[in-house]
Symmetry: C2
Subunit: 175 residues, 2 copies
Amino acid sequence: MRTCILYIAHSLDGFIAGPDGDLSWLPPPRKEEDYGYHEFIAEVDTVLMGRVTYDFVLQHPPYHYPGTTGFVWSRARAGERDDNVTFTAENPVALVSRLQTEPGRSIWVVGGTAVIHPLMQADLIDEYWLFVVPVVLGHGVPLWPARGRPLRLRPRDVLAYPDGLVRLRYFGGSR
Amino acid sequence: MRTCILYIAHSLDGFIAGPDGDLSWLPPPRKEEDYGYHEFIAEVDTVLMGRVTYDFVLQHPPYHYPGTTGFVWSRARAGERDDNVTFTAENPVALVSRLQTEPGRSIWVVGGTAVIHPLMQADLIDEYWLFVVPVVLGHGVPLWPARGRPLRLRPRDVLAYPDGLVRLRYFGGSR
């Protein structure tokens, strides 16, 4: 079955963005280190994100996910297509459940929390690739759902990068 | 100068206890693995905790920190002593600042958040030993202060245990 992967960076205190979506605390891209991105993206043929995340992506060209099938969850634009993605009103849980019955490679859940949280709570995220940035932000957009049901993950491996990022990988509870 | 250390376990979503102080999600003690505790405690001669944490400790004998000098932050019992600790109304920032001018070994900040948060925010925690438990609790007692000022930590090392716990060690920003 196709693997649904959350590949995301977060602060030590669990934020994926600072206030107002601030991402300036993320490490700058470096030529000598891609945090396993190329290995990861080679296994991905589908990306899923929310409408706010997609707007952010469009504001930072070139398009990050060329060659992938893209879905953007948007009730307002449901049924539309652009050069990159299809907009859909199908909720993330139904969409991922359906995609996983179809042939294909991995599905990358890009964000944001409107997409991530229901998938976590439905235990549809098969793999967590979490990049822990050594900063405590204090506030922002939380990765984890507040008052969600407890979820036990299965550890896969840990990798420390020279710049202080740590990659924690887990399997979702359902696999 | 004496090192002030936060040695603590937390869930993936950053809780040090579940609702109502629940700790049942922590891994059970195991003979074959002490998570570096004996090495750690050998360097500690002083423990600092809040009154609620101390009450919890007393409810789970034998006393966890024999042979250490203990301080419990409690306005109600300030000036009292018992067999283990001295109760003090001196706030954690003033107390740790003062202890660090005196000779001695490391100071362990045991908890809870009433003690941890002001020390974090004053950047008085020199070392973070964080044990990440592979569970998402959903709610509980947060390790990190909400709406605190941002804090950049300096990575030290990472250790993965066979049972899935990960120890992340950082130096505080001030050192």
